[in-house]
């Protein structure tokens, strides 16, 4: 194990709520400077995982090491390396942004001499410089979210844990928060949970999909792109030929006629097929006006994985 590079190590984590198993035997690692996306449908165990990682919840079994320090055995030392934004930002509405962040700085034991500069840096990074004197209760939701993030990074922890940081924000705010997270990766490892898939594609290095308390996929974004590779071509033509004519061009591939001039072609080596189809279409005047490779998007993979898992479960239950 190259321990100097692994900031978070999670070993066979389980958590029960009464008879309900929220998490079962989850293990993973996060390296330095990595942004890990945690994906899953509602109730999959994302927030539970985040709560355990941040020390808000004790696991029923398993252990969490933050930079080699056991979160259960030495909670104070381990928590000093953590910044956590829960799904509901923990803000005191009656305080101003400055007062609140100063309080957080003190809670995280930042020495008095460095407090002001830590406060300034956190405010500047989260775009809060203008609102320092305003009451948190009077801020908009987007700004409150930013205060929540500022709170999580004020002591520049090694690991930042963000639980659904973009929920309920408008598209511009979402983009701002995303660029903020992208900046964070320079100095911190980030764990991020979300159920918004493009978000993961946009900012994460690695993805883990969790469903019913189980890790069902753990892959890099590149690996994920690989899974999304196209397997079919989509054609639309104004004067479509007979299906047989298309089948002749495609050769070994399969052609599906979908009516209204729409066709789908499944074949190996799609690029070459596409080229051939276009050439033929132009030569024969089929009026081809739409051709695109059909890619599986993250959403389909997600549904695929989570629902197939579901199917397996049900089969097991039946047999």
């Amino acid at each position: 194990m190259t321990s100097e590079n692994i900031l978070i190590q999670v070993d066979q984590l389980s958590r029960f709520f009464g008879p309900l198993r929220a998490l079962g035997d989850i293990s993973f690692e996060v390296k330095k400077g990595e942004v890990l996306g945690f994906l899953g449908p509602n109730g999959a165990g994302k927030s539970t995982t985040m709560q355990i990682l941040s020390g808000n919840l004790a696991p029923s079994a398993g252990r969490v090491l933050i930079d080699g320090i056991d979160l259960l055995d030495q909670p104070k030392q381990a928590k000093a390396l953590l910044g956590y934004l829960p799904d509901q930002p923990p803000l005191y509405r009656e305080l101003t942004v400055d007062e609140y962040l100063r309080y957080c700085a003190r809670l995280n034991r930042i020495p008095a001499a460095q407090r002001q500069s830590a406060l300034d840096v956190a405010k500047q990074r989260c775009g809060l410089t203008e609102v320092g004197k305003r009451l948190i209760g009077n801020l908009s939701k987007g700004y409150r979210q930013r205060v929540g993030i500022a709170q999580a990074i004020i002591h520049s922890p090694a690991v930042v844990i963000l639980d659904e940081p973009t929920v309920g924000l408008d598209p511009i705010q979402i983009r701002e928060i995303r660029s903020l997270i992208a900046e964070l990766r320079d100095e911190h490892s980030v764990i991020l949970s979300t159920h918004i898939l493009p978000e993961v594609q946009a900012i994460c290095d690695r993805v883990q999909i969790i469903n019913k308390g189980q890790l069902v996929l753990s892959d890099t974004i590149a690996g994920l792109q690989q899974r999304m590779r196209g397997e079919s071509l989509w054609l639309t033509m104004r004067q479509p030929p007979e299906q047989a004519a298309l089948e002749k061009i495609v050769g070994e591939g399969k052609v599906e006629s979908l009516g209204d001039g729409h066709f789908r072609i499944h074949a190996e080596q799609l690029e070459q097929q596409a080229e051939r189809v276009v050439n033929e279409a132009v030569a024969n005047g089929w009026g081809l006006y739409e051709i695109r490779p059909e890619r599986m998007n993250l959403e389909q993979i997600f549904v695929d994985i989570t629902s197939s898992e579901h199917g397996v479960d049900e089969e097991r239950a039946v047999s």
Binding site: F16, Q51, L57, K76, K79, A80, P86, P90, E99, L107
Partner: protein, 257 residues
């Protein structure tokens, strides 16, 4: 120490809400009225007292009842101050800020407790100013006053510790307030049980036990100016017990249950 950071925030938040100010104002008003009626009584009795040997002085007639009344009024008020301590944070989900910071549970609980105590000490200070104003026109028994104030502070610390514990039990501040008021009142009057069961036997023994448990009994002797370390230890144990229970309760939030 981290507990003082939390206490400072707690105190600040109290004074940022109108609750603290209105409580201070109302308590001061009511106690000032009581103080003045006692003062009136003393002035009326003064000529007769002069002729008596070993007659009660100003301190017995004015200060002791004032502090006694203050205890009763604060029995009603303290639950309103402590109810929000944890339950409000739990409801607003701000507790995770404390849980994910490098703090131990005891620091969190002590911080909350010190925050309320700081407020209550301010209140006691305001109350004590009234008897101290008598120094302009005469003399009072400062030792007795001191014993009474010590009793009041210890009593309030017990109220606060119990209120804090009740607040850790629930998400609803009102439930915390009602239950801490209920328990405090019960502990206040618990010595009524068997109060007329004189003589010997198990009933008398039980009544003695209940009398010992009563929050009021230990306060009364301090009010009379009798400093018994047993009374002080009783209050300290009471506070330690409920702070300990609060720590256990907050710890249990994280654990399996």
């Amino acid at each position: 120490m981290m507990a003082f950071t939390i206490a400072g925030r707690e105190l600040r938040s109290l004074f940022l809400s109108p609750l603290a100010w209105s409580i201070l104002a109302v308590v001061q008003l009511i106690l000032a009225y009581m103080f003045l009626t006692q003062l009136d009584l003393f002035v009326a009795l003064q000529s007769r007292l002069l002729g008596m040997a070993g007659a009660p002085g100003a301190t017995e007639i004015i200060v002791a009842p004032l502090l006694g009344n203050a205890a009763v009024v604060l029995l009603l008020v303290v639950p309103m101050l402590t109810m929000r301590l944890v339950s409000e944070e739990r409801r607003a989900q701000t507790l995770s800020l404390l849980f994910s910071a490098p703090l131990s549970m005891s620091e969190i609980v002590l911080g909350k407790f010190f925050g309320v105590m700081a407020f209550l000490l301010i209140m006691v200070l305001m109350i004590v100013l009234m008897p101290l104003s008598l120094l302009f026109g005469g003399s009072i028994d400062l030792g007795m006053l001191l014993a009474g104030v010590l009793g009041l502070v210890l009593l309030l610390a017990s109220f606060a510790a119990l209120g804090l514990f009740m607040s850790t039990l629930t998400e609803q501040p009102t439930i915390a307030a009602v239950s801490s008021f209920g328990v405090l009142l019960l502990l206040w009057i618990i010595d009524w049980a068997g109060g007329n069961a004189s003589g010997s036997g198990s009933a008398a023994q039980a009544s003695e036990l209940f009398a010992y448990l009563s929050l009021l009994r230990h306060f009364e002797s301090l009010l009379k100016g009798v400093f018994d370390s047993g009374d002080v230890i009783y209050y300290l144990l009471f506070v330690a017990l409920f702070l300990g229970l609060s720590i256990r309760r907050l710890d249990a939030d994280r654990l399996q249950h």
